[in-house]
Amino acid sequence: MNDTVFNRRSFLSSGLLAGCSIAASPLVTPVSFAATRGENRLVVIILRGGMDGLDFLRPPNSEMMTRLRPTLSQAAPSEMMLAEGFTLHPGCAPLYELWQAGELDIVQAVSTPYRHKRSHFDGQDLLEAGTATLGGAGESDGWLNRMLQHMPGGEMVTAYAIGADPMLLSRGAAEVESWSPDVNFVLSSQGARLMQLTMERDPEMARSLAQAFALASDAPGGGVIEVDDSEVMGDFDEMMAAQMTAKGKSAGSAHQRVASFAAAQLREEARVACFSLGGFDTHARQAKTLQRPLERLSDSLLTLKSELGAEVWGKTTVLAMTEFGRTVAENGSKGTDHGTGGSMILAGGALRGGRLLGQWPGLAEEDLFERRDLMPTDDVRRYAGWAIRESFGLSRQALETAVFPGMSLGDSPALLS
């Protein structure tokens, strides 16, 4: 390995951590990835709970829609018209600006290969595993992780899973850093050395701890510090104050901090990031309960755009996907139950944008999946696959056999401009 491309990731895995102050080490200075490799960025957002695709992307008003959904998905005709009479949920107004700027696509009536049982947990596992069927519980790795292993120069790519919810997406052999912007600590370099000593026979724990040291050193006031004894005792109160800062309420809400942290990493050496947003399981009073989760999604996308800056945003593709859509008909409590087909959202300056993708199956009862759910007409993995292929140049074969085994990539939707 060449010295000039010695980044933090290789530093961590080289086991040189013990015995030096991370913050001061010349080895952790990020080296520009741009000089040698691709510049594109990919962000994956998992929308947990099963986002109602028919409420996010509202089909043209019709007698049938009114009958199926008396309190939901009714669009005023002029409101944020996308195409073919489809409109956006009014809670997503900021996304309409992205649409107009050619930085948003929506895929209609898509799903993972998951069918019939409509379990969130299996649905999410399958979405993150990227496979056609589920392996044993907790055994499978994630598709984003397998993508890293097949990226040209992938060993040099830094990828982040962000938030207190490490995802299957990032699980696997390729090294992915996970971090929450709320975690911070101060530890003396002596303490760091001793802690590594206690973990000598537990490589898995030692590796995560080494990452924690490196990541905390990025945070203001945190990390491993070189001090002598007298200083530690003298500054004890100050150190305690640093440890105890509960950042839960500072600097914006949690989802914004996550998006900000992602943007900060992507502006530097990271090329891939993933995180999740929850709250989409709207079984009751959906007109009210879906509002906040959709606002958080809009906020996250807009935060990414503003904090990445025009240049990096122009090289970024964001995929927002959910485990399944919801029942076409409203249930007895003005909400919707677990369904099948739904919507997928693509955002980013790298996109051609402004398009409704996929094929609309119709809402007549005989057109529905099991006479209750929107019929999926395409596979979400295919769009993720093309976004990866166009962003990072992975081969069709790698995508069809390794990243999404058994999936057929099919014709290109030509996502990137």
């Binding site: 929450s180 003396s188 002596q190 206690t198 026979r201 004894d229 099991e370």
Partner: protein
Amino acid sequence: MSFDRGLAQTRFGYGRSPEVAGPETVAQMMAQLRGPDVAAEQFAIPKDDVFYERISELFAHRQAVRQAQKGSDDREKRDVLFQKNRKRAHGQILGFMMTELQRRVWTQDALRERLVAFWADHFSAPGKNIYYRYLAVSHVEHAIRPHVTGRFEDLLIAAVTHPQMLVYLNQDVSIGPNSRTARYRKGKRPAGLNENLAREILELHSLGVTGDYTQADVRQLAELLTGLTTGVGKPARFLDKRAEPGAEEVLGKTYGGRRAGLDDIHAVLRDLARHPDTAGYIAWKLARHFVSDVPDAELIASLQRRYLETDGDLAEVTQALLEHPAAWAPLKDGQGNFKRPELFVSSALRALAVPEARMKAAKPAEIMRLVMHPLRFMGQPWRTPLGPDGFEEADAYWLSAQGLGARLQWALAAPAAVMTRLPDPRDFVQTALGPEAPAAVRFAAKAAENRQEGVALVLMSPAFQRI
């Protein structure tokens, strides 16, 4: 491989304590477990009717605000009163959590506390507003805790028909499409089924997702559950007028058909509890939680057998776990169950023997700072998983950089904040890890620059975090 005094405390309890001796035999563990619930008496939480009363009061304050003229002084006054009461309720919820933590710190019967935590997670039903965050305490204390050594069917009935679960999984708004209520509402407000509770009872609470059921069973069970409902501050009740008329068939057996009632709901839940898939699922889940991510097949089979032989007697199933040699498999380097954050924090407090008076004196803001926020950063906000499936069990999930970073942050700060004087790390390594403390940890504790880092080194060591 048989009973081990260290593992009895770590794997089947809340770890070692400088003040409370660990059990010496399986018989002793079982005798305590089958005996009276001493910890619940010593560190008491009010009876369930007190919870309903307080929630009704709080709700009445809220209603009073709503009834007052918008923008009026009167409304403002009423709102101030409501907010004051809400804040007090929030403080009480945090106090109840501290009470539960104290049980874990001081009990001799620590296995009972672990079982309560396990079943509370199995029947996860976090509240979404102040009323149900309050009632969530009662759900665990009164619907789950008394049954952890009883029959699974009684636990299942108590846990899933409790108003906490009914509201969390939307049963309170599920109405039979052909019920009298639905007919009356026709053209006014929509009324119909909500399948949420029915699905999770099958998928998460009884048979498990690999169990032998279909979407049709979900639908039929949802119809059977109609009528079961509740309201804010009220216990569960059965309203005949909301129940779907006619019989329902779940897993090939017919229920109801005559006058709808709770009996049919209890009958189907008893049958689900006695289903062989349920026995297998519960056996696997227990073995995985207490012993290993990949439990010994013979251990699972043994638990499942005992479950089926005793119609799901959970004390018997727990005894089968403690009697099986695989449950006492010694730890190997770099392997073993990795404590989840709640267990990590609880066992650290027990090892420190944080004085009762100190825990009782903690104010809400401090409890947030010392326990609630840190647990969230570690990935396990107190009894608030993302969904009804509870928290992840796989060790790899918890071994993230961010998770370990948050544990380190807490281990450096919290012990010093709760103890007047931190223990000497050279003693603490003995207290927390016992006679088997690894040489590397003993050395690190001795060589630490100060007590704060020394204590953190012990708490962060694999010997403390793996069980």
